[in-house]
Symmetry: D3
Subunit: 335 residues, 6 copies
């Protein structure tokens, strides 16, 4: 792993806390979790499943789009800014979309955003309500105005995650076809677009694992943060779901995807990296959920900080080293 | 709201605790919640979803009927008395019913009682097992002997709540038609009776809200405490249910009903007032339940204290001001 | 059975066909079934589950209310008249209701009517859509104008069937509490009303039978035609449902109810009288349905003619002798 | 309707049979139905849900792609040719696809084909198994070699139907997002593609109708034959599904879509055109199915012949006049 | 196949009808099907899923145990006798069991019998109700007295079928573990017993086939008649079930099992032999069922006659040649 | 109870903690619960539902087999040893099975072990994956090598628990027939075996209780620790399950079984002994589970220590006196 190359801008001041003494965990939780309380906004019921990215604006070094459910339990997305990536100033108003074709412009609901920088634009994808959940897309260059594009797919789809650069000359997206309820199945697919308007060349990436092999991911899986490019392949953190007699348990693990043909999986971890264990993950609006949506990383040190929703209620941080995660993925490969 | 008139006896010494400093919540929890532990009786598994009312008896100022599940997990109703409305002396024996027609007199199960004073009698309604859940009725004037009347409806019905006076010359009741399991639907209806024996003139009051409008009440709703009469209409606190992939979440909000035609809704809150957030609401026999069954209020100060079941396990108290709740309801009206 | 007394007007010319030679069936089908084709109306998809009664009007000797689903598959009720009870002239327009309280007057849907003569009025009951299925009521004295009364119950209810006279000084009705879909359970209840507006004194009559005892009625049951008064009790024909891996099968049998306390069952047949067997019962919009809604009988001869819906598509007739049916019920009693 | 213009090649010898004397039906069945027996092939279990189009080849005037399930009950597509459009010579071998990207080239299953001529190519679309059902596409110019293109969408999708010309400069398709079982929901969507490889600009066209308005189409709907262009709009025949307690019933009706913005519905029929009624529609591998997949029409006479699957077992023909169907659609419009 | 040896007694006069001219079917139906009407008994609703075996008694050459559901729809088993194997005299009384341990002796229900001759006794197995369905066993030597043994297994189990001789010195049985409803899964297992009292050495034989490979058997499978011993292995006819949106479809095919280790499958047919096609198979109490329970065969000619239940209502016969069926199984092997 | 005799070896140093002052509980929790953390192994996600038994080995006095799910959430069984029964040394490697017939030797999954000493061998039973869950059996005399025998039953079965001596000259086992998911039903059965290879003489022991009688055990029940022999009968601790709208709740109570005919129940407790109440029982991988698998007892003092899984995550201890538990069982008998 000495020669591992990690792509991305330097981020020496990214959020970080060392591995606790004595811990052998590949990823460890931030000791001050949750970093964002559920009522950070005057109208918020919960803030979780949110995405962040480096972005310089005045005093701020990071920007993001946050899932903020209000006390109607309506799902809304709010822009947010931060100096250190841990303490966040969230806009009281939800993000404003402009420019959509009138046929799809009406806001119904939106949740679980991700944000990717491709060339000089920041693209937000989210689960967008249009006669069922599908993947909404908008770009911004200031996190104030968001230019809405066409929905990527026909419903039903969730967890649309863009790659941070074009692949084979086209935009590339992971997503998870779904149905319109608490979907009990889910594979990850890969699709391409020449123009962010029309999508095709759909390829199957991964199915849930067999129960006997890796039970935490045996019912459905979905992409988490924007994949991280490395010389070993795209590092994908993804969530998996196990259904117990008392409901769904969301954990997350890792996979490596081929750089040029990302629908080909190089390795996939059997063990999870993080599974619900702390009281803020075990209890809340939806107990037993750890759901990653964004990651910051620093190529030089290999550090990665993962933002993940906890119990669909609050937001937590977990840390790790990319080389160790890649090593873990390959050593515990279930393919 | 200066001219708001609230109907009801003066209750200057009702349970109360001021809004915490810095809180902007319309209703706030009692800091000593839960007020009744689950094992207050030697045989009780849990005590919750209980109803109270002012009632002078010896040293006591309040009486009530309490849902006390025993360690067989059988659902029983017990009478209880209190000096201050917070500390309760619960009878070890469950309440004794007399006078029922033999055809319906056998006790099967009963739960979620409410109590209303109409003229000079105290009427208890509860979910009564008779070939399925229906609405049982009994009256008392001493909280020792309860005179059972006919069941109001054919099964399946739950959450029968009487108005505290006759309307249009007839007794009036809200209820929620159900099925015989963990009912996944539920509207509130209004019915009238000339004599507490025969019921009719059934009118539809409210359906669950649309998911995109107010998700906490999008699966089913049901009346909570006896409605409070005000010059703005009947103030109804009611529970709503959202189904996540991990089960039902019970929260509660408010509505204003027309004084003379209570099936006509004047306003209905989009945001909830209370939703599960504290550990005694998030965990217990049924996680994520806040379920209001009774309220005490003082017309002069506008204070209201709501008794609500927590996680189907213990009993909590929440406080607020009626004018503020009415204002909140109208400002957040989703009709 | 020599002394059996059957109540009702003489009907010497009622529809009739003798038992086929060699047949030992207690009830037998009319050889010219179905008597009403599915497209008897220019707009009808199907005509079935319909009720008839003796009524003199011009040349006609019988009147009725017919379930006629149109080619939108909307459920409608049409009045109809007949000289012989077999050939029917069905009004092209659906029956017109007047006089309902405006709150319930909007027509949503209505189906499976029954008609009973009580004193000098003809009361029609049907499954009436009002925020779910419930029991609608209207009376007529000319089968042209139908005066709508209050719905008898809160939803969800179906198969409301009136007794042909007051019992204990009150109107009396059988019904089957349901839910809002293809209900997989169903007991028969009995209710009383002093005025056809308010209903109460609800009593349980019968549950489905145990699978091992009488499987054709092991999932749900519901009253069929208006009960026939005899000195042995009320003779009730009722449908029962068995669920196979390929759906519901509707058959019908008989029971005797106490004359004064009709919720008390005197006898109940284990074998069915009619179960789907002919091609017009086995195939159609809903295969495997025989569903009785009305009966004509002649006290002197003991003859009874039962109108029953076939496969939710067409209407059939079956014949029998009341004394034999009562004898069959008692000899095969499963109580 | 005098000025109605119908687009399409002249087809004076298309299959035809006059409306039966006395019939008032808008569409009527061919008296010799079913036209193709289930065992026309030595290995076929059933032949149904098949598509045909005018195509001159030797003695043949029509070509088609036929759903032929074999006695393994595997779903296969076979090419077929006919002189008169009624008697068909079906190739014993299933259709051979060439040229697909290797990632998607493996055949899993395929069913319910449609065929559209756009410019000088014949495009076949079908429900194609690729990690769930999606829309497969291939073109041919000889009905011998079929050139497979990319799947149009991510699973789960069914009933992909192309328009017979580009709209707004792009290929246009109707489809119905589904799940991976006996889908209990289904709306029709519209999508565009510049190149038959990437698809986007997804628009919602129609949802199922309300139960009270048009029950035969209240659970799911899907496009049938390739839409027919007229001066009144695109004439779309589409199937709708009602779920009874004994399963799904498939009927079909008609709609008019805007010529330039086909996701805008001009009119939609409340009554069905054809619903299962004949024994070959009521019984078979899946009882109660009439499922249209193709239509031939002659602009001069306005005649249309619809090929529809019967009970998922055999193939039937129904006839009508386009002007009458358009008139029927507008007069019975439920929008 | 010239050297194929078939084990069993000579049966030159067994029921037989030659393959229809022009037919290429491996098995063909008897032209006089159904051979037993549903009302052959005065109390029978249906007679189907019945087992027969050569047995000389007076004028009779065949005996059997017949599933006869009565008009209570109670499932009962009746003994029957026949001269020619086609016309049957069925005992009016159901078969009488003696000798069972009192703990299991109470009759609850029993259905789908099979009969095997092992050494000099005739063993009947059936689905026996004992706190859920399990496998009942009894032996007889006169088809008048049946000596009941212990149930083979704990519930839930169905389709227990004995081999006609001991294997590895022990009795051997195929069965299908189930649940207590309309089981939606089902594999065939093999078990052994030294004494017909204790069972063990359970081995897995076959699972349902993949949907894409052989859909008629993709949901559950179960053994049919007693396996036929041949030099190629045990020839097993077995039923398979496909679930359409309109319910279960029961067809049957064939497999060859290893003679000494019958849990090892040598070959298994992809195509079915018989699937519902005739009106008496497509309609009845349970539409679309062809369910084989018994077979007669003549080693010299290779003829086999299969008795199969039709639509859970009547009994049919199908014929074939064992060498051809074995050939078919091997040529269409899906293993 | 003065003459109560309890069978078993003396265990004066068994784990123990006196009943807390003021407690009236029949069983009380250990104050230092949970005794085993979820990550006691480097690879463990959770350690629970584990069995222990007195066993002298070096410094150790107790041995056991522990359910240790790894971070793949694979279910594994590990041997463990302890000096005091509270602090455990768990082997890092899962237990190694030898000697199984090759047909069943492949390990798929195994969970919820029990261990019983019969004569001089220690028999482990567990839920063993073999084409569905069934009961695996192995014996050991050193807790290092485990000799695998035949599976006791055909799937689907769980909670197989051996009696600690032969009964009627045969090995005896309790088990619970299941299905292959989160089984929503479950009775306890009793079976015998002459040789631990073949099983039979299956008898029904107990069904779930009626909802109105003892709701905590109204959905399914299953045996817990190896039964304890006393002069009053076999003392059986067993779990019961209640299904709330938020999932399953596992509690446990007690029953007395006849010494010679253990399928005959002498007494059965209505109230539970332990039901989820502490945070380590209320939250975890499966909230609201207390699941007993083993017990240590000392005949002289009557003390019993029960090991039970908590929330499918950690292991807890609860204490009581056998005479008091027997007394409690008889006084609260629901039979």
């Amino acid at each position: 792993m000495n020669n591992l190359k990690i792509v991305g801008p330097a981020m020496p001041d990214m959020p970080w806390e060392d591995r606790p003494a004595g811990s052998k965990e590949v990823m460890w939780r931030y000791s001050a979790n949750p970093i964002i309380p559920r009522d950070a906004l005057s109208t918020s019921n919960s803030i979780f499943n949110s995405a962040v990215i480096p972005f310089k604006k005045g005093k701020y070094n990071y920007a993001g789009v946050f899932r903020c459910d209000d006390t109607n339990r309506r799902m809304r997305i709010h822009a947010a800014f931060s100096v250190d990536g841990i303490k966040w100033d969230i806009c009281e108003e939800d993000f404003k979309l402009v420019g959509a074709d009138p046929e799809i412009a009406e806001w119904v609901y939106g949740y679980d955003p991700r944000v990717a920088k491709i060339d000089d634009k920041y693209y937000v994808t989210w689960c967008n309500g249009y006669h069922g959940p599908t993947i909404g897309i908008a770009w911004t260059d200031d996190f104030e105005t968001f230019h809405q594009l066409e929905n990527a797919f026909i419903p039903f789809n969730r967890n649309g995650v863009l790659f941070p650069r074009k692949i084979n000359g086209r935009f590339a997206m992971l997503s998870r076809p779904s149905d319109n309820g608490h979907t009990a199945f889910g594979d990850i697919f890969y699709s391409e677009s020449p123009d962010m308007e029309f999508w095709g060349r759909h390829r199957h990436v991964m199915s849930p694992a067999a129960f006997e092999v890796s039970a935490w991911q045996c019912m459905k899986i979905g992409a988490g943060p924007v994949p991280i490019e490395t010389s070993e392949g795209w590092l994908l953190l993804y969530h998996g779901v196990l259904r117990s007699c008392n409901g769904y348990v969301y954990a997350f693990g890792s996979a490596l995807l081929d750089l040029d043909q990302p629908w080909k999986t190089i390795a996939r971890s059997g063990p999870y990296l993080i599974s619900p264990r702390e009281i803020y993950e075990l209890t809340g609006d939806v107990p037993n959920v750890t759901f990653p949506c964004a990651a910051l990383h620093d190529p030089a040190t290999g550090r990665v900080a993962v933002y993940y929703g906890c119990a669909d209620t609050v937001t937590g941080l977990a840390f790790g080293y990319i080389p160790e995660i890649i090593d873990f993925t390959k050593k515990n490969n279930i393919l």
